[in-house]
Amino acid sequence: MTVSGLMTVPLLAALLVWILKGRLLRTILLSAAAVHTVLTGYVYFKGEESIVLRGIELGCSVREFGFGVLAITSLLFLLVSLHLCSWLKSDARAGELRGESHGMSKHTLVSLLLLFLGTMTLTALAQDFGTLWVAVEATTLASAPLINFHRSKTSLEAMWKYLLLCSLGIGMALLGTMLLSAALPEGSSLAFDAVKNADPQWFKAAFVFCFAGYGLKTGLAPFHSWLPDAHSEAPAPVSALLSGSLLNCALLGLVNIRDAAPEGLTGFCNGFFICFGIISLLFAAFFIIGQKDFKRMLAYSSVEHMGLAVLMIGFDCGVLVLLHMAFHSLTKMMLFLTAGNILLAYGTRKIEAVTGVLTRLPRNGMLWLAGMLLICGTPPSPLFFTELVLVKQAGILWGGVILLLLLIIFCAMAYVVIKMCMGSAAAAEFPEIDCRAEKLTRIPLLVLMLIIFSGAALMAETIMRYVQ
């Protein structure tokens, strides 16, 4: 019941928004998001056995991997939809003032967003590889038009690349799924629980295709080409969702395929995870150096964090992956929303054109700086702890490499962010927009508080544990 509710609420709401053409937009969006969150919470506390989809057993007391993703998605969507309404107004106003052409209509955006939520929910709830594939492909379809919100040439291009590359990738995943079913004994289902005794040879082939397919959707380098385009061109709230939720959903595919590995092949699979994790870190590091566009920088940071998550899976860090994903999602969402505000006020995504954010938009500047530090795992960011455990698991050699790459990424990101935040600002082009951008910091601030408090609590607990 609850599960079907989780699925139907967003879809119904999407339909409703579409039919009502923008009337009651805010109410429907918020209530749908709220209901979704409440239902998720309900599932969590009730712990309905029927929705036990599949927990990865990494030797830790992880409740549900899929459920974790669902919870993150739900929470993120609620926060983003709270942000969205006022953002839409400000964006429209800014477009008006700058004389830009009109983008997608509001209700299309909202209904697509709700649809997007529905597909992501389906992904998180999927119980077998077939459904998972359908759901992941559906997320692509629901999110692609969102990228083209502003209907500019570049956003169209980003959407096209996103569509084509992700479909290609997801096609590979379909092939992988076929191969997986070939690997199984005749007549067995593809449910996550049932996939156990796959034929190793077939499984390898299946694994490679699934890894490439879902890895592409996750944005692992060198499959990441679409990611910076899509994430930078999408409007800020959509970027937040793409980076915060969608990547996690895709990661679910990777987690599940690894979990399906027959005995003796886990090492083989882990090798891929580690290798692509490191490559992702490497790519992210070198693409952030010399980056010219701050939203693209954030996108590469997402590549980095997906790399880290994959590394955590590869090094058997257990529940940590989920923790990392959760806090990455929150932090990244906050950063994307802030980036959206800065973009709103400055009207450009070019790093060199943005200086003195702290002076011109003090709150956004503060958020931008703090967010950068948190995403790079500076304490009290919870990511610090997850990265710490990752390094511990990885051993001194790989740990050293990971830390070095993280350091490079930090240096490059800090350089950009500090350069943007400090310095003297040019006078505001439209003071009204600046004012609006400052007002749009409520949700990011809330998220920042949330992250810092949970991080500080984690820190206090750790300190207390060792001080005694």
């Binding site: 492909e137 291009e157 096609g171 079913s181």
Partner: protein, 216 residues
């Protein structure tokens, strides 16, 4: 009955060759439609085929998708692929190579179905041809067609393996493909409107190249 098992994959192989060497959009669309119908028919030839799915398959892949593509072609007013990245004669040779690769792979797979190696070999050929067309053609519409071919190859592979998904999943896959092509069709039209051409090759504004680099 067994003859059909031989003939259908052979038809697929032939279609691949034609797809790779044809420059006219209309031809391509027709060939894809043919492939879709074949895909719908094929499961019926074996035992345990599902009539419903077959019908939906034929309707969507054989009729709806080609129509959508045709409409997009009309709206975007593209007739032919003029300057492919890889020439047509080379493409033909490559398809032959793909075919060889397909047979090579199929021979090595532990297959136990009646349809066996031929279907799998054809599937691989179709799949690779699809990928090749996506990679080697400039027009956005051709790329969509290439993707469809790729998808057809995967489906053919599934049929060749005699594995069936659950009904919902099959339908889900079909629905996804349908929506995908629909959206891509819209995108093709938009690209045409915005850029006055639908060369995907010209979509190169988003990059991370250092300043002052000349694009290749």
């Amino acid at each position: 009955m067994n003859d059909w098992f031989g003939i259908v994959p052979a038809l697929f192989l032939l279609s691949c060759l034609l797809l790779a060497t044809s420059s006219r959009m209309l031809h391509l669309i027709r060939l894809v439609a043919l492939q879709g119908i074949l895909l719908g028919v094929l499961p019926l030839l074996s035992e345990g085929g599902h009539w419903g799915i077959a019908a939906v398959n034929i309707i969507i892949k054989g009729i709806v998708l080609p129509v959508l593509l045709y409409m997009a072609m009309k709206r975007a007013s593209v007739q032919r692929e003029l300057e492919p990245l890889v020439g047509y004669s080379v493409s033909a040779v490559l398809v032959l190579l793909f075919c060889g690769a397909g047979f090579w792979v199929a021979e090595r797979l532990p297959l136990n179905s009646a349809m066996g190696p031929l279907a799998v070999a054809a599937a691989f050929t179709v799949l690779l041809t699809g990928l090749f067309i996506v990679a080697a053609r400039k027009k956005a519409l051709t790329q969509v067609i290439g993707f469809l071919i790729f998808e057809n190859g995967i489906t053919l592979f599934g049929i060749g393996m005699m594995r069936h998904h659950e009904l919902m999943v099959e339908l889900g896959i079909l629905l996804d493909v349908l929506v995908l092509v629909f959206i891509m069709g819209i995108a093709v039209c938009q690209i045409n409107r915005e850029f006055a051409h639908i060369d995907a090759d010209k979509l190169q504004n988003l990059d991370d190249l250092p300043d002052g680099e000349v694009k290749k």
